[in-house]
């Protein structure tokens, strides 16, 4: 599974400044390499900094120290607009609470990120692509359903299709099974595995549960802002 290096972190730090000048260090020097085609789990207790790390990796947040290299390019300090463009072109997100647009059909939800794409294709082509993604996640017969008419598992699968619509290099999933029962959890996680194996998509799972972590190829344990251990399992 030796893919080339996609992301490299060197001594990454994040310190929040609260009112009154109180500094709260959340990440205290993270060194990490994410290779292309991996299925990685960031694990650890809540408050340990794994969500913060994911936010920085996903360009939702900026580090206060250290270096972040994407494809060998230093992306540590980018403007908000540059980060927005990067998110749109390279990154897909799957959230714990799905975050679908209410009263909007599954198909429209999947199409939404394309509104902000730099290079647009024709409406017909975009629609065909979104439909194929929905079929891919097993919702070919639910395209016009609205989120309120779907189960949690189905909603999360719509969210996965949405994360894939702009052909990202890397997919971040923040506690993707946190709101799902164990059976649908497994379905969703199997889907991540499938995507990883069949498409070679790089996926980063953020979770506190060892069961979820067990689906990953490799895992980092993060506690108190440091990497305290890693498990590497070949699957």
């Amino acid at each position: 599974m030796a893919g080339k290096t996609l992301i490299e972190l060197r001594g990454l730090e994040k310190t929040y400044r609260l009112g009154g000048g109180l500094a709260v260090p959340v990440l205290r020097g993270i060194d990490m390499t994410i290779r292309e085609g991996t299925l990685l789990a960031l694990m650890g207790p809540s408050g340990g900094g794994k969500s913060t790390l994911m936010n920085i990796l996903g360009f939702l947040d900026v580090p206060t120290g250290g270096q972040y290299l994407l494809d060998g390019r230093d992306v540590t300090t980018l403007s908000a607009n540059a980060r927005a463009d990067l998110r749109n072109a390279r990154i897909g997100f799957v959230f714990q609470n799905f975050n679908l647009l209410a009263r909007t059909s599954a198909l429209k939800n999947v199409l939404m990120p394309l509104e902000y794409a730099k290079r647009r294709k024709g409406a017909r082509e975009e629609r065909a692509w979104a439909e194929s993604l929905l079929r891919r996640v097993g919702l070919g017969d639910r395209m016009e359903y609205q989120p309120s008419q779907m189960s949690g598992g189905q909603q999360q699968r719509v969210a996965i299709a949405r994360a894939l619509v702009n052909r990202p290099r890397i997919l971040f999933a923040d506690e993707p099974t946190g709101n799902l029962d164990s059976k649908t959890s497994e379905e969703v996680l199997r889907m991540f595995q499938e995507l990883n194996e069949q498409e070679g998509l790089t996926i980063v799972l953020v979770t506190h549960s060892p069961e979820v972590g067990a689906f990953a190829k490799e895992a980092y344990h993060i506690k108190d802002g440091r990497i305290v251990g890693g498990t590497y399992t070949e699957k």
Binding site: D85, L101, R103, P113, N166
Partner: protein, 456 residues
């Protein structure tokens, strides 16, 4: 791109139809009030303008100025310096002047026809141009008097509608005779209906005679307008004199020859005219006409440079200004009230947009997470509020038009469609959308995507 944005704004407005409609209501009412007020205002100022121009906005009146005897001033009109020659000179030399007529008027003259009698409010007199100057238009029946009839002081008259109704009810008036102060006049024409003037005086309650006839036959005492009904002025034997004195000008005094005119100061003569009425070609030419008349009269009256005029010219322009200013003031006042209601509507829009931003914080966070720049979020919400305001504005224009049509029908107020008002309120409502939508949209665009995504 813009179309897509409008479409998506429309979609998100449709997600909460009732709230969007209620939000729009403020703008709808504001714009409707603006439209209705502007249309009523425009109609009112139209009707004021037309009633003034009915009175003759292009009309000027020339009076002699005061004279002083032993230090006692007679007041305006006391001097008797205007002559028939002034009249002719003004007509000949002033380019901006349309028509000129001497004016004499008297009140309290009883008119008798058969077994009926009526005292017209005013008996006016003038030359053949009188009807042009006073913008009477063409006679309802019969004709107006001619220059020749004026020259010979013919006993002919044109009567107003009120007089016709009182003296000849339900009968043909033209060709009938009536007596004024025991002088027999033939009715040659009937004036069209003009109604009351702005002072509330019935302009149809009048008899118009040639000014020479008025001076020579109705008021022997000369230019005095204080008309005790002149019982001594004429005897009944003088009636029907137009046949007795044909074609010769009724001149009381011998004319001055040119040498006399050069050598002597203007003599006070008893047949001078106490008022000249002049109409300019258009209301805009009134100031030119006044300047030209002033020049002619100063020369004719031998007034040296630096000396004061011995006459005074009055025009309606002040009155016109006052009236239009009054109606303009009313319109602006109403407009300010309407604008205030638009501002209140705008605050409503801002309120709802802020609520909407808060409510959709997670959506904003999501859109940012999938790569929307802050500017796009700003535009999205700005488009929504502008669309909301524009739709409200359009509905308001419809409601306003409807309201003014209803007002025009039910209350009978004059109303004029004002394109300016429609454009203005469309522009203002879009501007309100921008102004009051900007802050919420700006707040939305400044949200931190991480916090926004976690927002409950």
């Amino acid at each position: 791109m813009i179309l897509a944005q409008l479409l998506s704004a429309l979609v998100s407005l449709r997600r909460n139809v009732l709230r969007s409609l209620l939000t729009m209501l403020g703008i709808v009412i504001g714009v409707a009030v603006v439209i209705t007020m502007m249309e009523i205002g425009a109609g009112a100022s139209d009707s004021i303008k037309s009633s003034i121009s009915n009175m003759g906005t292009n009309v000027m009146m020339i009076w002699p100025w005061a004279t002083q005897t032993a230090g006692i001033s007679s007041g305006s009109g006391g001097a008797v310096t205007l002559t028939e020659g002034d009249c002719a000179a003004i007509r000949a030399e002033c380019l901006s002047v349309e028509a000129v007529t001497p004016s004499l008027s008297r009140r309290g003259i009883q008119a008798i026809a058969g077994n009926r009698n009526w005292t017209p409010f005013t008996v006016y007199s003038g030359n053949e141009d009188y009807f042009t100057v006073q913008s009477w238009g063409s006679p309802e029946s019969g004709r107006y008097f001619t220059a020749r009839e004026v020259d010979v002081a013919a006993c002919v008259c044109v009567i107003g509608q009120t007089v016709r109704r009182e003296l000849f009810p339900g009968e043909e008036a033209v060709g009938r005779d009536l007596r004024l102060n025991n002088v027999l006049f033939r009715v040659i024409g009937v004036l069209p209906t003009k109604g009351a003037n702005m002072m509330g005086m019935d302009q149809d309650d009048t008899v118009v005679v040639p000014w020479t006839t008025m001076r020579n036959r109705l008021s022997r005492s000369g230019g005095s307008a204080t008309g005790a009904s002149g019982s001594t002025s004429s005897s009944s034997t003088e009636s029907d004199t137009s046949d007795v004195y044909p074609a010769s000008s009724a001149t009381t005094y011998p004319e001055q020859d040119s040498v006399q005119a050069e050598n002597y100061l203007l003599p006070v003569r008893f047949n001078n005219i106490n008022q000249i009425t002049v109409s300019a070609k258009t209301p805009e030419q009134v100031p030119d006409a006044i300047a030209q008349i002033t020049e002619v009269l100063r020369r004719r009256h031998k007034i040296g440079p630096g000396e004061a005029d011995d006459f005074v010219i009055r025009d309606m322009s002040e009155m016109l200004k006052t009236m239009t200013a009054t109606s303009g003031l009313m319109t602006s006042l109403l407009l300010i009230v309407a604008m205030l209601s638009l501002v209140v509507g705008g605050v409503g829009i801002m309120n709802i947009m802020l609520v909407s931003v808060t409510e959709r914080t997670r959506e904003i966070g999501l859109r940012m997470a999938v790569g929307a720049r802050g500017a796009r979020i700003l535009w999205q919400f700005l488009t929504e509020s502008v669309l909301l305001c524009l739709l409200g504005g359009l509905a308001g224009i419809g409601v306003g038009r409807l309201a003014s049509v209803v007002i025009a029908h039910v209350l009978g107020w004059p109303v004029r469609v004002s394109l300016g008002a429609i454009l203005l309120s469309a522009g203002v409502s879009a501007a309100i959308g921008v102004v009051f939508g900007f802050y919420p949209a700006w707040r939305a665009s400044r949200l931190n995507p991480i916090d926004a995504l976690r927002h409950e």
